[in-house]
Point group: C2
Chain length 210, copies 2
């Protein structure tokens, strides 16, 4: 058996990715009906038909397991997102201005990660859980900050602490409205999402970016 | 003894405002060193030198007591804030544009409630507590929404649900950065606060308001 530690998440690694995926899928299934903070490892193992010791081969705590799931979802978002922030935000603003209020966007790959979360069929419902949503926001902030902060500093002539704080404001604001948008039909969701995006891009003065 | 119920907060009312104030001050004092969720009624009564029964003359739960304290802080903010939103946001934008980055604002009464919270000497430290901060944000949202939503609808030509969601975004975004600003010196705090306010007012296109 090969075991190693994943430094980024603090979770343990193991050769059997099948069991690992099975544990993740079991928690995701349980989260559809239970609050995260009420789920105990014992109940998870019962549900997954695994021994408690098996759980500990992969994770130290249930929080580690959740973090692993959220990292998966962010990797998925990452694969759907253009690498270059500066150009994509300008393109997003142009696209929003060109689509009518009730029309769906032509290319939602330009949406920022917080706004794209609701498109992930497998993970979107996670934003409903009041204890999970802030962790997702914090992770998005952590992943995206090194990419967006330098752009904000350059385009808005900001100091680093100012750009970091502004980005924190945007991620947490976006995260707080996601729950309200979750249950809406696609066109309603887009009508509201668009107003939020237009507010953000207007505040960032994207139309004046280089 | 006269007792009645305060419908708004669900708390009990009583003739002795002194005892009520004493209970509130005791919780505020305890919150300087303890997390809200770890404070029990028994410990609060011990600290306040009152009988447990006395506590229940005024409040049903410790959450009721916290709500009463937050309501006090919002009343204080309300007394410091111009009633008319539309004009005051335009005035705020003009003032921000006229003050240098390291300069303190001439009239911080124009600041929106979330941003003004840090000026309340007695209550500002409350935003540090991760369980209390969202309750403050929710209360500010509830108090301010009826005043600001109609203005956003009119000035940005928005539907009610759009204006409500945007205002939720702004309140929660502001609330999330308050904690980072809490420990800063006055001029540093203002430099960062100003960038956030300029982003918000830019996103709201305040310079085009009627």
């Amino acid at each position: 058996m090969i075991e190693s530690s994943n430094e980024k998440t603090g979770t343990k690694r193991h050769v059997s990715t099948d069991t690992r995926e099975h544990i993740k899928d079991t928690l995701l299934l349980m989260l559809k009906t239970s609050h995260f903070r009420t789920i105990r490892i014992t109940a998870l193992c019962r549900e997954a038909h695994i021994a408690r010791g098996t759980f500990y081969l992969y994770y130290n705590t249930i929080d580690d397991l959740l973090e692993d799931i959220i990292n998966d979802s962010l990797q998925l978002i990452n694969s759907m997102t253009p690498k270059e922030k500066q150009g994509s935000l300008k393109k997003l603003q142009i696209m929003l201005n060109q689509t009518g209020d009730e029309e769906l966007p032509k290319d939602s790959s330009l949406f920022p990660p917080c706004h794209k979360y609701l498109e992930l069929e497998k993970y979107r419902f996670l934003v409903k859980d009041a204890d999970v949503a802030p962790i997702i926001a914090q992770k998005i902030h952590q992943y995206e900050s090194p990419k967006i902060v330098p752009v904000l500093m350059k385009e808005l002539n900001m100091k680093q602490d100012e750009a970091e704080l502004l980005f924190k404001f945007i991620v947490n604001g976006s995260s707080s409205v996601n729950r309200s948008l979750l249950e809406l039909k696609e066109n309603e969701w887009y009508r509201l999402q668009k107003k939020i995006l237009q507010f953000i891009l207007g505040g960032l003065k994207c139309d004046q970016w280089s």
